[in-house]
């Protein structure tokens, strides 16, 4: 087998989902293994090395969250993308909190699937680059998340400002997984963004469109217009000059519970 071919595992109890992912990926040179439930998935994981696992949440027997927990327990660090037809905010946030690297709500287009898989494979590559086999948290070190920040999975961060507003932006890991940015699409002022839902889109040079999931719910009171003209800003300094929005949070205390404090990354 070709060492450079990417291999992913798709776990879903719906045959049509599995089939469509297989069909779409085969064209892109990605090998797809499939499993119709979590037990089958575990058997395949045991015998194969996958760069990425894409799993549904609601499945008979073991669900997607339990699958992630089991992988953690077994020290299998293959990144997981969670996808579900029950695409609520709660599921999205929980997936990311539990360690999924992305949340892909069904139904998805081919572009959405590919951008997510692309990031997932890049993420796996990054991790392998730093720590080849089993290891602790990935240490990608040029611009770590500041300790006072909170993050939603490995995607976005939120910083509480003294005046009660919240600044939000994307993490360095996210930026590394998407490669060169071509264009950034932002929401308008006054628009409401909802935790776990798309709040901005980044188009990359290779033509992929990445959705940025908001780390917190609130109303946009300011946006970083500099990003539109100076894309490098976000890549060079994602935690400070590369912020995206300032929002007035609507339910700060509740939503903070589902974010991970960046200070825990240093332990």
């Amino acid at each position: 087998m070709d060492e450079h071919r990417k291999k992913i595992l798709v776990v879903d109890d719906e045959q049509v989902i599995v089939d469509s992912v297989v069909r779409l990926c085969s064209d892109e040179g990605i090998d797809v293994d499939t499993a119709l439930d979590a037990n089958e998935a575990f058997k395949k994981i045991e015998h194969n090395k996958y760069q990425l696992i894409v799993t549904d949440i609601m499945m008979p027997g073991i669900d997607g969250f339990q699958l992630i927990a089991k992988l953690k327990e077994d020290h299998i660090r293959t990144p997981v993308i969670i996808t579900t037809g029950y695409s609520t905010v709660e599921n999205a946030v929980k997936s990311l909190y539990e360690g999924a690297i992305d949340f892909l709500p069904k139904p998805f287009t081919i572009d959405e699937l590919f951008s997510s898989i692309y990031r997932g494979i890049r993420y796996a590559g990054l991790m392998d680059g730093v720590q080849p086999e089993i290891g602790e948290l990935p240490k990608i070190d040029f611009a770590p998340c500041p300790v006072t920040y909170y993050r939603l999975g490995y995607l976005t961060w939120a910083k509480l400002e003294d005046d009660g507003s919240v600044k939000i932006g994307v993490t360095d890991i996210f930026l590394k997984t998407i490669k060169t940015i071509k264009k950034i699409d932002l929401f308008q002022l006054d628009e409401e963004i909802i935790q776990g839902n798309t709040c901005a889109q980044i188009e990359t040079e290779i033509g992929l469109m990445h959705n940025i999931l908001a780390p917190m719910t609130g109303r946009i009171i300011d946006k970083n217009d500099k990003l539109l003209n100076n894309k490098d800003l976000i890549e060079k300094d994602p935690y400070f000059e590369g912020w995206i929005y300032t929002i007035i949070p609507s339910d700060l205390d509740y939503e903070l519970k589902h974010l991970t404090s960046c200070s825990s990354d240093r332990l």
Partner: protein, 623 residues
């Protein structure tokens, strides 16, 4: 129900026993005293008779004409009511008697007639009439007799007469004893006793009938009505209302019952509503999950095909439609899921100025782009208001966004002003619920006055009949008249559901003297007002009592295009929009709902071409 368990029977039983005891005791004493009076009367007569006999025989006694005496005694003894007449000498030997066969017999001194005097060793010389009379029966079943002994005393003539029958030292020479039958008295008393028994029975029957009837009217019917109401409610018919049961305790119970069922039905409605939301949420979740999987199949394959159809423009177009519409379906399902998500309002004590400042930071940029000047006239040291700061902030943001949209590109001004005001409830306080005396709600959501549900009543005057919608603002009197009426005409107002009159003719309007109508405001006392058309007098005791209420008032004025008069009434209605496809028409309706939940008010004043002012009032809670 068993007859004995019936409250009517119990009452009748108690009343009958009470009547029997009372009349029994009364009759007993009455008959007793009657008997005493009759008996003493007879006694007196007997004594007179005895004296008469003694006197009429006196001369014959003194002259010792024994035959003469015997004749007199016998003649008297023939009298029907007289049982016996006897004269005994000192030794107890009967010397004269009406019944001649008794003459010569010896009377036992211990016998009843003699006992009174002869119990003591020394015979008594003088006795009063009571002690000398006695009542007895010869046989246990014979009629009663009354006897009276009359001692015959020694006199000078007795011992000085020639016959020298009696020695001088003797005091009593003999005794005259007359007995008469008491049969007549006994019969009279017996008759009286029977009469009182009959009277008692009659009274008991009459009382029972009256009690039974009264119980039927006052207790049975209302109780039956109440029982059928409870059964109706138990069966789930919460809209069942008991008809008027009067003003007594059962009437109060009925009203309280009606009130309870109404509250229950409201609570059930709310429960039903939240249940509906919950099941809608579950349904949405189920639908989302089930539909999203097949949609994924469609969307992935169609978007895949679309990618491969770059070189086939005609196919590409068709595929674009499929992808676009599938994405639309995705948004619809997502909308369903979002709808199932509900936000709970969280009220806290907040500074309204602070909330407004936060709202301003949200819109500031947008306003400066449109060259709109923002003027803040916020009063310092406002008392805090209990609000959901996020919701109220949303209100101000929306109002400011609306204001900025009303201002065209030349620019303009938005003024924000807050003040603390203290308002008399008169002309401010809204009536949010109204009940007729039978508990029917009078609120009418269909006809709104200034956006607030009005109070609908049936009106009759001058032969016309129709409906009047009363202004729900206390003291404002912007009523809608559904019938043609002259000013000052007296209107007969009633409940549109049960026709019960709301007019209290005993009360007079202190302004014009016309009658007054009233209705209950649940939890907030009674509302009263003058019945005449144009009569402005209104009185709401419970609210007046509380006195002035403090409000924080906020005004948002713009110099925009203004709102045409015909739209002013409708702007708070859901789905009313002037923004065409761009707006949902829910913005101001949501704002209205938010203020409603805060016990606040919002009103609008506008002049086309000059601008619009929204006035918001939030009550300050008294500590």
């Amino acid at each position: 129900m068993k007859f004995f368990a019936h409250i009517g029977f119990k009452l009748i039983f108690i009343i009958a026993i009470a009547a029997a005891i009372i009349i029994g005791i009364f009759s007993y004493f009455n008959i007793q005293s009657q008997q005493k009076i009759l008996q003493s009367e007879v006694e007196r007569h007997l004594n007179q008779l005895s004296e008469t006999v003694k006197n009429s025989t006196r001369y014959d006694m003194l002259s010792n004409r024994r035959l003469h005496i015997s004749n007199i005694i016998q003649t008297i003894g023939q009298e029907e009511c007289i049982h016996n007449v006897r004269i005994m000498n000192k030794e107890g030997v009967i010397t004269y008697a009406a019944d001649t066969s008794l003459i010569g017999e010896m009377v036992d001194k211990n016998a009843e007639a003699c006992y009174v005097c002869h119990t003591a060793n020394q015979p008594l010389a003088r006795l009063d009439i009571k002690q000398r009379s006695r009542v007895y029966r010869l046989e246990p079943d014979s009629s009663r007799l009354m006897g009276l002994i009359n001692p015959i005393y020694n006199e000078i003539s007795c011992w000085e007469a020639d016959c020298h029958v009696h020695p001088k030292e003797k005091t009593v020479l003999g005794v005259l004893d007359i007995t008469i039958s008491l049969e007549q008295i006994d019969q009279t008393i017996k008759k009286a006793t029977i009469n009182s028994i009959i009277l008692t029975l009659v009274i008991i029957i009459v009382l029972s009938l009256i009690t039974g009837y009264v119980v039927k009217i006052l207790v049975d019917r209302p109780v039956k009505e109440l029982v059928s109401a409870t059964q109706n409610v138990a069966a789930g018919n919460l809209s069942y209302a008991i008809d008027d049961l009067g003003t007594d305790e059962l009437g109060t119970l009925a009203r309280s019952f009606n009130n309870m069922t109404q509250k229950l039905s409201e609570a059930r409605l709310q429960l039903f509503q939240s249940d509906k939301m919950a099941s809608l949420g579950r349904l949405a979740a189920g639908v989302a999950h089930e539909i999203n999987n097949p949609l994924t199949g469609i969307l992935t394959y169609s978007s895949f095909l679309l990618k491969r159809a770059e070189k086939h423009p005609e196919m590409k177009q068709d595929l674009e439609v499929i992808v676009r519409e599938t994405k639309r379906s995705r948004e619809i399902v997502k909308g369903l899921l979002d709808f199932a998500r509900q936000s709970v309002p969280k009220k806290n004590e907040s500074d309204l100025n602070e909330v407004i400042r936060r709202a301003v930071t949200v819109v500031e940029n947008q306003l400066s782009i449109k060259k709109i000047e923002l003027v803040e006239l916020l009063e310092q040291n406002l008392p805090k208001v209990t609000i959901d700061a996020n919701q109220i902030q949303q209100v101000f943001v929306n109002l400011m966004v609306n204001a900025s949209q009303a201002i065209d590109d030349i620019g303009g001004k938005i003024t924000l002003k807050t003040t603390l005001i203290s308002l008399d409830p008169y002309g401010i306080k809204q009536i949010k619920g109204a009940l007729c005396p039978k508990g029917h709600s009078l609120m009418d959501d269909d006809i709104k006055i200034d956006g607030m549900a009005s109070i609908k009543v049936k009106a009759k005057a001058e032969g016309n009949e129709g409906f009047i919608n009363i202004d729900p603002i206390y003291g404002r009197n912007r009523n809608h008249y559904g019938i043609h009426l002259k000013d000052k005409s007296i209107i007969d107002l009633s409940c549109p559901k049960c026709n019960i009159s709301l007019v209290d003719k005993k009360k007079e309007c202190p302004v014009c003297g016309a009658p007054v109508y009233s209705f209950e405001v649940p939890g907030k006392g009674t509302f009263e007002a003058c019945v005449t058309k144009g009569g402005e007098w209104q009185h709401w005791e419970e609210v007046d009592k509380k006195g002035k209420q403090e409000y924080v008032e906020a005004l948002i004025s713009d110099t925009g295009c203004g709102i045409p008069k015909e739209n002013l009434d409708k702007i708070f209605e859901p789905f009313f929009t002037t923004k065409g496809q761009k707006g949902t028409g829910l913005g101001l309706a949501v704002i209205w709902g938010i203020l409603e939940k805060h016990d606040g008010t919002i009103k609008v004043d506008s002049k086309v071409g000059k601008g619009t002012t929204f006035t918001l009032r939030l009550p300050v809670q008294k500590v």
